[in-house]
């Protein structure tokens, strides 16, 4: 099956709709508790091992990414380093991206970037925390690569026809962060003020910075 076929290859199942489904939460909560008890009783884990990982899962949050974005908006040399090597530039501010290499993609007046993971739900969790519900939904995973403009419109963002829309399917050893454009009229603000405009969704490409900056971020706190 390696010979070239025509320009388009039929995709079995492409006409079959994806089922969302959220069954069994109580059952799997109970399964998780049973697994936890057995792992501890058998000496596979200490409760403190689990607690340490939970603390590491709970610490990252969108404010960390917002600090990186705000720095890039105010410091051109940092912005250049960030786009060349996202992981190293994040580390400069004290953020270690543990799960993979961080790739930062920049929005411009002629280019808008959108992040998805069609195969599972890869996301820069060690920087931004857990992804939003819509990001891990099967609808987003299935549709963001094929009809990204329609999906963005459903999320409240219309991309102009003369702007290139570039989707990044995050499927292996890279994790992605969108560097949004700074909101108009923000030229006089300092980094901490700028960071308050940078929402989680803007760093995935599902919103513009400042357009729905409703999260009460306060002053970003660096990682402990």
């Amino acid at each position: 099956m390696s010979e070239r076929k025509g320009r388009f290859v039929s995709h079995p199942d492409d006409a079959v709709a994806v089922v969302e489904g959220h069954a069994g939460a109580d059952y799997y909560a109970l399964m998780t508790e049973a697994t936890r008890q057995l792992a501890i009783e058998r000496g596979l884990l200490l409760q403190s091992d689990i607690d340490a990982v939970i603390a590491a899962l709970e610490a990252p949050r969108p404010e960390w990414g917002a600090m990186i974005v705000a720095r890039a908006w105010r410091d051109d040399a940092y912005r250049a380093r960030l786009l060349a090597d996202g992981s190293a530039a994040a580390a400069e501010l004290g953020f270690r991206i543990k799960e993979a290499q961080l790739v930062v993609v920049e929005n411009t007046p002629t280019l808008h970037n959108l992040i998805v993971c069609t195969l599972c739900s890869c996301y820069p969790r060690s920087l931004l925390g857990q992804p939003p519900w819509w990001y891990i939904s099967k609808s987003y995973r299935a549709r963001a690569v094929r009809e990204p403009r329609k999906v963005l419109a459903e999320l409240g963002l219309v991309i102009a026809a003369d702007v290139e829309l570039r989707v990044h399917d995050s499927n292996a050893d890279m994790r992605y962060l969108v560097l949004p454009m700074p909101p108009a009229g923000s030229e006089a603000l300092d980094e901490a003020e700028l960071a308050a405009f940078v929402t989680r969704d803007a760093m995935v490409g599902a919103a513009l910075a400042g357009s729905d900056a409703k999260m009460p971020f306060g002053r970003p706190v660096p990682p402990g």
Binding site: M1, S2, R4, K5, R7, F8, V9, H11, Q101, V103, T118, L119, V145, R146, E147, P148, R149, K150, A161, D162, E164, L165, R166, V167, H168, D169, S170, N171, A172, D173, M174
Partner: protein
């Protein structure tokens, strides 16, 4: 030395493998351009079966045109999609454009 350079035209093959694979169906048999070389990484096709000591494989980001991916693409002609692809899923591409 990585086999491909930035800008090279490549063809994403379908290895027809079973098991854990990170190359989605919709990009197989498609052509694109190398956007960047990402480095060499352990192959998920091995990691998924506890084979942790295999040699790393080269990973690239490939840029494809949406109108080449979907016959009914309803966006703009200039829209693109970037995706990571391991070296063994690529062959030199293209006479299509």
């Amino acid at each position: 030395m990585p086999r491909f350079s930035v800008g090279d035209r490549v063809h994403i093959v379908d290895l027809g493998k079973a098991g854990h694979i990170r190359i989605p169906w919709y990009v197989r048999h498609k052509d694109g351009d190398i956007e960047r070389y990402c480095g060499a990484y352990a192959n998920p096709e091995d990691l998924a079966y506890s084979r942790r000591d295999m040699p790393p494989v080269d990973l690239y980001r490939v840029r494809l045109r949406q109108i080449d991916l979907w016959p009914d693409y309803a966006g703009e002609a200039g829209d693109t999609l970037d995706i990571e692809v391991y070296d063994h899923w690529l062959e030199p591409g293209g006479s299509l454009t």
